[in-house]
Amino acid sequence: MKNSVLAAAFAALSVVSPALAQEKIKLINVVELSGAGATAGTNWKNGIDLAVADINAKGGILGRQIEIIHYDTQTNPGNTRAAVQRAIDEGTYAVLGPVFSGPIGASMQIAQRAEIAQIVGGEAAGLTKQGNPYIFRTSLSQSAAMPKIATYLQNGVKAKTVAVVWVNNDFGKGGRDSILPELEKRGIKVVADVSTEQGQADFAADAIKVKNANADAVFVYLNEEESARFLTAAKQQGINKPMVGETTLLGAKVIQLAGAAAEGVKGHVGLSIDAPVPAFQEFGKKFQQRFNAISDHNGLKGYMAVHMVKWATEKQKKFDKKGLADTLRGARITPKDEPGIMIETKIETNGDIDRESFLAEVVAGKQVIKETLPMINP
């Protein structure tokens, strides 16, 4: 009791003290914390919280502590727009988030008009094709990742026919639209094109459909839980064809949820806490410790987003909002300069990201990296 009174007194003091208050740099994260995007958004938010705690513990950015504020978008474009506008009105240094492409599409013009960098978790190909110089990704876009998967299906799995299972939201549809032409280019035939619903619980019918298509391989492009549910259903229906995925399907969360059904799953991994990068694994442990949950790639993205801000600020040596975006554009960030970026990251002038990535397989309940793929334009 006494302690809490003391703590409250200190808190009050620190608010009053102008010196301390001035020093804080305000970052606002606008993300899906409820509605359809809540799981992805919560990971992103946790990654950001972890990054802010790390940075603040080490003295902040240019000596100033970060004050982080999270605004929920309810996965609704209208609300996202309101929240991004609010963030800008309240003087955020940069806008972090959101993760879903629809809400990003609804809010990116606002950040552009205000000439403020918006660092997002979206992977849909279209976001960086609109000539908006203020948007920045934190992961490979689907148009960069899908050719790698298609090549892997052709050469690694040696599949002639593929069944594609995708979630019918902007993430899944975008991935599906990106991979179909790549498969066609490589002479791989799509024998089943199965759309599933976001939040779908029952995958039995979809698994039976895939089984009857009798393809050489199954490409699964779903969110984490749906991936696990699908793998479980596929095992129940006795599907024994290779399951190939992109990042999410091989995530630790999927392995934990699907258990034995995830065994032998293979594919391409962008950001993963199991990748053979010590910083990733360390992040995974810290995340687990703090939130008692396994981080998916969105957690990593959120962590990196804050460190992109840190790196660029220290590079420009001032807190200039427009300058932040200018510094990020075309930059190359190495873990040597900024350990929090974890892996060498090249930012294209349109806001796309280029990085090394991995081919992996699930063996004995663990993601095992088989091969490291180089950057696309090193």
């Binding site: 409820s34 759309s195 039995a204 549910r229």
Partner: protein, 292 residues
């Protein structure tokens, strides 16, 4: 044919769960002429409560299950009636229906913020093996879900029609004024209805969570399908809810197989509209004579 049977069994298993949830709509409708828009969340939450018992109390799973279900029935059977239904029932059905919508938000957000935003594994009490019969892979879990759900609904039907308490409950639900005159303890009987509703929801939760995983957002889909099932089967009959649930489950499964996966959701809804136009009281519902 083998293929068709596989779809059928998968659909029946899902449908059995919809039926358990749909009965909840039926029971609440009978007693209060309102729609509980939180019904899907009623199926979502017990599994979360059980996992929370394991996580926070370190209780063994069976004990956590007992405690979790007891807590749920207390909160959302007894508490739901006392706190939400009783004060509002006199003022027409709409405010109450809206309050259940708000309750759904509270349950969903509470599960997310209080427990986890992510899906969690939920252990199964049922066998999880798959057997192969004539080229069809049959999940024992599916068969077991169908059997348990049908047994529970059969038991309820037996209770309502064959036991004295059950008949009193039915009478209290259908015409409270007459029941009161006949000396039936109406208040207690209505409360019993709500407790049974919560109990069935908890059963559905325990049955389905090993497959669906325990997650705060699961209620949305289950709630919608159970609602469709209740309308299709007829809102005023327990066996209607069972039939409605099974029909909707099977139709959904077959739609995914033979129609279009992206318009899968449309098929049960089109069925619903056709039934409303052709047989408005539902396939198994009682006709309510229109009087002046």
């Amino acid at each position: 044919m083998a293929e068709f049977i596989a779809y059928l069994i998968a659909g029946l298993a899902t449908g059995a769960i919809y039926a358990l949830a749909a009965i909840g709509f039926t029971l609440v409708w009978q007693t209060s002429q309102t729609i509980n828009f939180a019904q899907g969340e009623f199926v979502m939450l017990p599994a979360i409560l059980i996992l929370a018992m394991v996580g926070f109390l370190g209780a063994p799973f069976w004990l956590a299950t007992v405690l979790g279900i007891a807590l749920f029935v207390l909160l959302f059977g007894w508490g739901f009636k006392i706190v939400i239904v009783d004060p509002m029932i006199r003022h027409g059905v709409l405010p109450l229906a809206i309050a259940t919508m708000a309750l759904a938000i509270i349950m969903k957000e509470g599960a997310k913020d209080g427990f986890s935003a992510e899906a969690q594994n939920f252990p199964s009490f049922l066998p999880v093996q798959t057997i192969s019969l004539g080229g069809v892979s049959i999940s024992l879990q599916h068969i077991a879900i169908i059997l348990v759900a049908c047994a529970a609904i059969g038991g309820l039907q037996w209770f309502v029609t064959r036991t004295k308490t059950g008949r009193q409950m039915q009478a209290a639900a259908q015409n409270p004024n007459v029941a009161l005159v006949l000396g039936i303890p109406v208040a207690r009987m209505v409360m019993l209805t709500f407790l049974i509703n919560a109990g069935l929801a908890a059963l559905a939760s325990v049955l389905i969570s090993p497959i669906y995983l325990a997650k705060f957002s699961n209620g949305e889909v289950i709630g919608l399908f159970a609602f469709i099932a209740a309308i299709v089967g007829g809102f005023n009959q327990v066996r209607g809810a069972l039939a409605g649930g099974l029909i909707v489950g099977v139709i959904d499964s077959l739609a995914a197989a033979y129609i279009s996966t992206s318009y899968r959701l449309a098929v049960p809804l089109v069925l619903l509209v056709i039934i409303i136009l052709v047989k408005p009281e539902g396939l198994f519902g009682r006709k309510e004579e229109r009087r002046v």
